[in-house]
């Protein structure tokens, strides 16, 4: 079923010159009779900010779920840093340095904000029972480092005052920020953000974008984000990938994508009026029993 994934593929230079950190090649995923992802292919250059856009039902979130291991694709190849991650578990993919946020935030409400943050830190020996007993000093040293890093990030995202509160008491926008800050705690090399700007006030949104640019410029972190705010997409991404009906139809620089007739058609439904949704604006209702790596991601919009 997945011949392409097992074959080692050479690292392909991404358009724009940078080395590709994430390569998605001809990925298919269907739920019952609905082809949610229908041959999606694109690569993401290392240290870039790539926007993934498309009308509702285009398959964007489904593709995120596939790339991060929450859904198992039917076929295709997914390479991360040159190695196949096809069918790998979500936790294994996260450990490789690719973390994500969710469209519907998954702030852990029954845990304090600081615990949400500290949870995400990798390399904590105290997370195993053996490490907890045998490496007590290393464990407490790591806890101190992690707590310090968590404070810095909470400060960046204006959440310091809330650090001891249960995350359930945060507003929708604050939860979004917490989820992003938590993803950054995981020391990622690649971050996948699903509609990061939704529900955040403009000031904090600006701060989030600044932080994203800062991490890209100074730490070579790669970002892929799904976003509906075209102003953000056009001004803050290096490349834009457009999906429609489960396929990646266009990839290129923001200004090129904006002018592309195929993109206009995809959004407006093949030259239809602005008031009419396109014929391809399908609503995906994935079968929850088909959860690939065992995950169950609520998918309101793909």
């Amino acid at each position: 079923m997945n011949e392409a994934a097992s074959a080692p593929a050479p690292r392909t230079p991404a358009p724009g010159g940078g080395e590709a950190i994430l390569e998605i090649d001809n990925v298919f995923k269907h739920f019952g009779g609905i082809r949610a992802v229908n041959g999606a292919s694109f690569s993401v250059p290392k240290g870039s900010i790539t926007a993934l856009i498309g009308p509702n039902g285009a398959g964007k979130t489904t593709l995120f779920n596939i790339v991060t291991g929450f859904y198992r694709p039917d076929s295709g190849a997914i390479l991360y840093e040159g190695e196949s991650i096809f069918g790998k578990h979500p936790y294994a993919i996260a450990r490789r340095g690719m973390v994500r946020t969710f469209q519907i935030t998954k702030a852990l409400s029954a845990m304090p904000v600081i615990d949400n943050m500290m949870l995400a830190a990798p390399h904590q020996p105290g997370e195993s029972l053996v490490g907890l007993l045998a490496k007590r000093r290393a464990n407490s040293r790591r806890e101190e480092e992690v707590a310090e890093r968590a404070q810095e990030l909470l400060d960046t995202f204006n959440l310091t005052k809330k650090q001891d509160d249960y995350a359930g008491t945060l507003s929708g926008g604050q939860r979004k920020l917490l989820e992003l800050a938590r993803a950054l705690m995981a020391e990622p090399r690649t971050v996948l953000l699903d509609e990061p700007m939704a529900g955040i006030n403009p000031t904090l949104g600006r701060r989030l974008l600044d932080h994203m640019h800062d991490l890209r410029d100074n730490k070579d972190v790669t970002f892929v984000f799904i976003e509906h705010d075209m102003e953000v997409v056009m001004n803050h991404s290096d490349e834009v990938v457009v999906m429609a009906q489960g396929e990646t139809i266009v990839k290129g620089l923001p200004e090129d994508v904006r002018a592309d007739q195929r993109v206009i058609d995809a959004y407006l439904g093949g030259g239809g009026s602005r008031d009419e949704p396109g014929p391809e604006a399908r609503v995906e209702r994935p079968d929850r029993s088909d959860r690939g790596g065992g995950g169950g991601v609520t998918e309101e919009e793909a």
Binding site: T68, G69, F70, H89, P90, Y91, A94, R95, V99, R100, F102, K106, L108, S109, A110, M111, D115, M118, L119, A120, P122, Q124, G126, E127, S128, L129, L132, N139, E143, Y166, G168, R182, A183, A186, G293, G294, G295, G296, V297
Partner: protein
């Protein structure tokens, strides 16, 4: 001097032997429920098979001592190992299931164990219980314990006047509660550790934990195995308290009693388990003081009705239980 007032005898209030017995039961089912607290309160997995793990602990220890002839203190760690292995074997397929299916799978496991115990007469003594096994082999599981118990009475309790028939079970009470308190402290520390932090994340949202690189399945498996171990330890003490056990002690109702203790004491609190177990057994056994013109089985059923009433009132006025945290009530959301 019987003080009978409105059909209630208060003699029991000063009956030391009675209260020590209640305390032993509260301690045993406290250890039993610590496992449920770890599973339900901190991992979000509905383990309805705790009585099955208790049976594994009890029977494996008895069989090792009585049938195989292994010394008591070697049999205990071996029986711990057996219980943990059984926990892992059950957990491997079961923790992959969604919460409600996991509940069904664990209760089925518990019943498979009980019915096997009932029918494997040669190995377990069948319906007659472990006593028939002991009589057949001429070896008794609690011989070593009796020696320790006598030593404790002679050296610790007799000098302060706590000896005689009424205080026969005092050493067991002290040991059971000692173990319960140590385990409570250890578990409370464990859930505050980075390991416990992952567990609490899994409790609320496995996908969030997975997306941060945590293997939720492995943590749930560990949680179930530790609960199995605690159930097994409770099983040993049950044999010591009762002298022998049979399959009735591992009917599903005993798991539900564990849940009643859990709800009384409150979710996500280990000290709550101690409190809940004490309150449950004090009420349940204390209600024996009622002298109603009913047959004994109806009287016993009525005591459960009272416990049920208390649980309903608790749910209405304090759903988080005595010591539970409202903010950490995750199950069922």
């Amino acid at each position: 001097m019987d003080a009978v007032l409105l059909g209630v005898s208060f003699d029991f209030l000063t009956a030391w032997g009675f209260w020590i017995g209640v305390g032993v039961l509260a301690g045993i089912y406290g250890i039993f429920t610590l496992g449920l607290q770890l599973n339900v309160g901190f991992t979000g997995i509905l383990n309805f098979g705790q009585a099955g793990f208790m049976a594994i602990g009890a029977y494996s220890a008895v069989i090792l001592v009585v049938d195989v002839g292994i010394p008591f203190f070697l049999a205990l760690p071996l029986s711990m190992l057996i219980t943990v292995i059984v926990g892992l074997l059950i957990g491997l397929p079961a923790v992959r299931l969604r919460a409600d299916y996991l509940a069904i799978a664990t209760i089925a496991f518990s019943e498979v164990i009980r019915i096997t115990v009932q029918n494997a007469r040669g190995l377990t003594g069948g319906n007659q219980g472990t006593i028939s096994l002991e009589l057949d082999n001429g070896r008794f599981f609690n011989e070593t314990w009796q020696d320790i118990s006598r030593w404790m009475t002679d050296n610790l309790f007799d000098p302060i006047g706590l000896s005689g028939n009424e205080f026969l079970n005092l050493p067991l009470l002290v040991v059971v509660w000692g173990v319960l308190i140590i385990l409570t402290f250890a578990l409370a520390r464990l859930v505050r550790s980075p390991w416990g932090r992952v567990l609490r994340a899994v409790r609320e949202d496995e996908d969030a934990a997975r997306a941060l690189g945590k293997n939720a399945f492995f943590y749930k498996l560990q949680s179930l195995s530790i609960a199995a171990l605690l159930g097994g330890i409770a099983g040993w003490f049950l044999v010591l308290a009762q002298g022998s056990v049979s399959q009735e002690a591992f009917e599903p109702i005993w798991t539900f009693i564990g849940y009643a203790i859990l709800v009384l004491g409150g979710l996500a609190s280990f000290p709550g388990v101690l409190f809940g177990s004490f309150i449950f057994w004090a009420i349940y056994e204390g209600l024996r003081a009622m002298e109603l013109p009913l047959s004994s089985d109806k009287d016993a059923a009525l005591r459960f009705v009272f416990v049920g009433l208390i649980l309903i009132l608790l749910m209405a006025f304090r759903p988080q239980g005595a010591m539970g945290k409202k903010e950490e009530m995750v199950l069922g959301e």
